[in-house]
């Protein structure tokens, strides 16, 4: 193996793959087979880069040669950058050797599109097949579904991969037309639909025939770029909801647009990455998936964008003060989960703890409830609670005054008085 040449390729092709934010290696249930190498179950982050993102998979492109010219993408045809391509065996060797040293949970393989979608998809499948069949590798494999790839290939990909994903990238169809004129919305939807149907079919067959092979056991995911086309948070979250419902997505990722090239259609280079907005979108995503909120409660025509200065749950509570205060000792799980400052772990602890005795402020504090936010919305076994009839503006003001936030300097209007 020529390490110098591999090193050069690795640098180019890892650099090009890093804007794909998915790093999850969980949700699969692949066991180690016949004393082979590896297994895939709960997911482990083996290290974190200096930008604070987790590294759990070897995330690379097979090649960054591409026939498309999408404005938001570093590897677009018209961008003047170094191009490289891995041989199939090189990717296999890298994966196995990194895995054996406990650097990674597996492989995340994407690719620029060369020749045509099917040809590219075939090469991706060839890597996964070789890992599974020749190396008896049972670690995690995440393959990209190439938009426009045929159904037969998508079927085959699912037999070797744990997760498949197509990145929708642009949340609105009009945005897609503007930035990626070569791509059609249907090309994205087709492989997603095929994979969804196969997953359902394999699950049903598994119930009858135990030896049914695994098909993409960790499901599908997708990614949207935010902040590139002036879309609203409502646009983003409504299309995310559509993907969760229509394609049974395991995850939708939101990637704040990092300006990488000059283009009149895009934010200019040097524009700050919208990290706070990204954070708020993820918080909303969690509220939808784990806290029992529906999307129109948080975002609708009256509130098309999320608040920047407070989290979406607090923002919802401030608009819906008539639901509060909630009695910690009697409220049902659904309502407990809606109290600002109480997460699902605390809900679990409260539900268990209150079986033994009535809970007071001390108990809640010890359980880890963020009382600085929660105290305005709850009553518990104590003579003290917030009795003043406060309106939402005052509550918000007091919460902001008594807390600190890591993004506060980005939106604080404290200094604007004299500037």
């Amino acid at each position: 193996m020529n390490f110098e040449r591999i090193k050069e390729k690795l640098n180019i092709l890892a650099d090009a793959a890093k804007y794909d934010v998915s790093c999850s290696s969980s949700g699969s249930n692949r066991k180690n087979k016949d004393k082979g190498l590896g297994n895939a179950s709960n997911g482990i982050c083996h290290t974190y880069t200096e930008d604070g993102r987790c590294v759990s998979l070897l995330k690379i492109l097979l090649t960054n040669h591409c026939i498309f010219d999408c404005a938001y993408c570093v590897t677009r045809k018209s961008n003047d950058i170094k191009r490289a391509a891995f041989k199939i065996q090189e990717v296999v060797d890298l994966t196995i050797n990194f895995y054996r040293r406990n650097y990674i949970e597996g492989l995340f393989l994407s690719s620029g599109i060369f020749k045509n979608p099917d040809y590219t998809m075939e090469r991706l499948i060839a890597v996964a097949k070789k890992l599974r069949e020749e190396e008896n590798f049972n670690g995690y494999i995440h393959l990209k579904s190439i938009p426009g790839a045929s159904d037969e290939l998508m079927y085959e990909a699912g037999l070797y991969a744990d997760r498949l994903s197509v990145n929708i990238e642009i949340p609105t169809i009009s945005g897609l037309k503007l930035l990626a004129p070569d791509k059609k919305h249907e090309d994205f939807a087709k492989p997603m639909l095929k994979v969804r149907n196969e997953i359902i079919r394999h699950k049903n067959e598994k119930k009858l025939i135990k030896s049914t092979p695994k098909y993409a056991p960790a499901g599908q995911s997708t990614q949207m770029i935010v902040g590139a086309t002036g879309e609203s948070d409502k646009d983003v979250m409504y299309s995310a909801t559509y993907f969760y419902k229509k394609f049974n997505m395991k995850r939708v990722y939101y990637s704040g647009y990092v300006p990488v090239m000059k283009d009149a259609r895009l934010p200019s280079i040097g524009t700050q990455v919208p990290m706070l907005r990204e954070n708020r979108l993820y918080q909303t995503d969690w509220l939808l998936r784990f806290y029992g909120f529906s999307v129109n409660e948080i975002l609708n025509d009256h509130h098309p964008n999320l608040d920047i200065d407070v989290d979406p749950k607090l923002s919802w509570a401030l608009r819906n003060l008539h639901h509060f205060p909630v009695d910690i000792n009697t409220a049902d799980k659904r309502m407990l989960a809606r109290i600002p400052g109480i997460g699902m772990r605390s809900v679990h602890k409260i539900m268990n703890g209150r079986k033994y005795r009535k809970l007071n402020w001390e108990h809640l504090k010890n359980m880890g409830v963020a009382l600085n936010r929660a105290k305005y919305f709850i009553v518990c076994n104590s003579r003290y609670w917030e009795r003043r009839d406060l309106d939402s503006e005052r509550i918000k003001g007091m919460i902001l005054q008594n807390s600190t936030g890591k993004f506060r300097n980005q939106y604080s209007n404290q200094l604007s008085l004299f500037s």
């Binding site: 390490f3 591999i6 090193k7 690795l10 640098n11 890892a14 650099d15 793959a17 890093k18 804007y19 066991k31 180690n32 004393k35 082979g36 190498l37 590896g38 297994n39 482990i44 982050c45 083996h46 290290t47 974190y48 880069t49 200096e50 930008d51 604070g52 993102r53 987790c54 590294v55 070897l58 995330k59 890298l94 050797n97 990194f98 054996r100 040293r101 406990n102 650097y103 008896n136 704040g256 990092v258 990455v273 990290m275 602890k349 409260i350 268990n352 703890g353 209150r354 079986k355 033994y356 005795r357 809970l359 108990h363 010890n366 359980m367």
Partner: protein
């Protein structure tokens, strides 16, 4: 009747469970269970030395497990934290658990129960970290070798994970701080204790024990680690929060930063 007594055990988990058994047998309302390396006699309390008895330990283990399988995990994990004074807390916890049918060890409004759960959580986090931060280096005799220095004694907890995952390669994971480790010989995992002249940390200094190829793969990994970083999103605080500095010296990708 005075029901407080010091029970001195040998430091093993089975020894501790035996002490719990003895405590229950003698109907002690408070058992001051102490490890023999740390034992301190109270001025007026009685002292009894406990000899580990597997059968008695098993009866306690099975009894607790029947009540709640998550409680038995919390007990074992919290025990491995080896925090001073953990044993009497655990005795209290087991007492409560066995005291009533409804109690499942999830009374989070009880300070001691909450404390044990939090300790178990900390040990669990350390276990998970070790599963992530072990970096194997390939020796010339084809053994994948890694040094660790965990905050808690998690070697017994990680054995299964590595055995299941790396079933086709021989490996050693060695706890430098506690001077013992695991050796997988392609068949079973055994406990070993080595006479290490120099700890094989991932330093820039190369050791003769490892293959040349090993250093080339470390180099590739470091390159990958750097290329996958997005510079315009830099967040060093978050980085060190996830990868605390005390682990850096064993991580090949951070060796230049140490």
């Amino acid at each position: 009747m005075d029901t407080t007594k010091s029970l001195i055990y040998d430091g093993s988990f089975n020894g501790f469970l035996t002490a719990v058994f003895v405590g229950f047998e003698q109907k002690l309302s408070h058992a001051d269970i102490q490890c023999n390396q740390r034992a301190q006699n109270g001025l007026f309390s009685q002292t009894e030395t406990i000899f580990t008895n597997i059968n008695k330990a098993k009866r306690v283990w099975n009894g607790v497990k029947k009540r709640s399988s998550s409680a038995i995990k919390s007990i074992y994990f919290a025990f491995l934290s080896r925090q001073e004074g953990i044993e009497p807390l655990l005795y209290y916890y087991i007492q409560k658990l066995m005291g009533s049918i409804e109690n499942k060890g999830t009374d989070f409004s009880d300070d001691y129960v909450l404390k044990i759960n939090q300790l178990a959580h900390k040990v669990g986090r350390e276990k998970h970290r070790m599963e992530a931060f072990v970096r194997f280096q390939k020796t010339k005799d084809d053994v994948y070798f890694a040094n660790i220095e965990p905050d808690y004694d998690v070697i017994p907890l990680i054995s299964k994970h590595f055995r299941n995952r790396y079933a086709d390669q021989a490996w050693i994971i060695y706890d430098v701080k506690r001077s013992y480790g695991l050796y997988y010989n392609l068949d079973t995992v055994e406990l070993i204790s080595l006479d290490l002249t120099d700890a094989h940390v991932n330093s820039i200094n190369k050791s003769n024990a490892f293959t040349n190829e090993e250093y080339q793969y470390q180099d590739l990994w470091n390159n990958y680690f750097n290329s996958t970083n997005i510079k315009s999103r830099i967040n060093k605080k978050l980085h060190t929060q996830h990868v605390p500095k005390r682990y850096w010296k064993y991580l090949s990708e951070k060796k230049e930063a140490v």
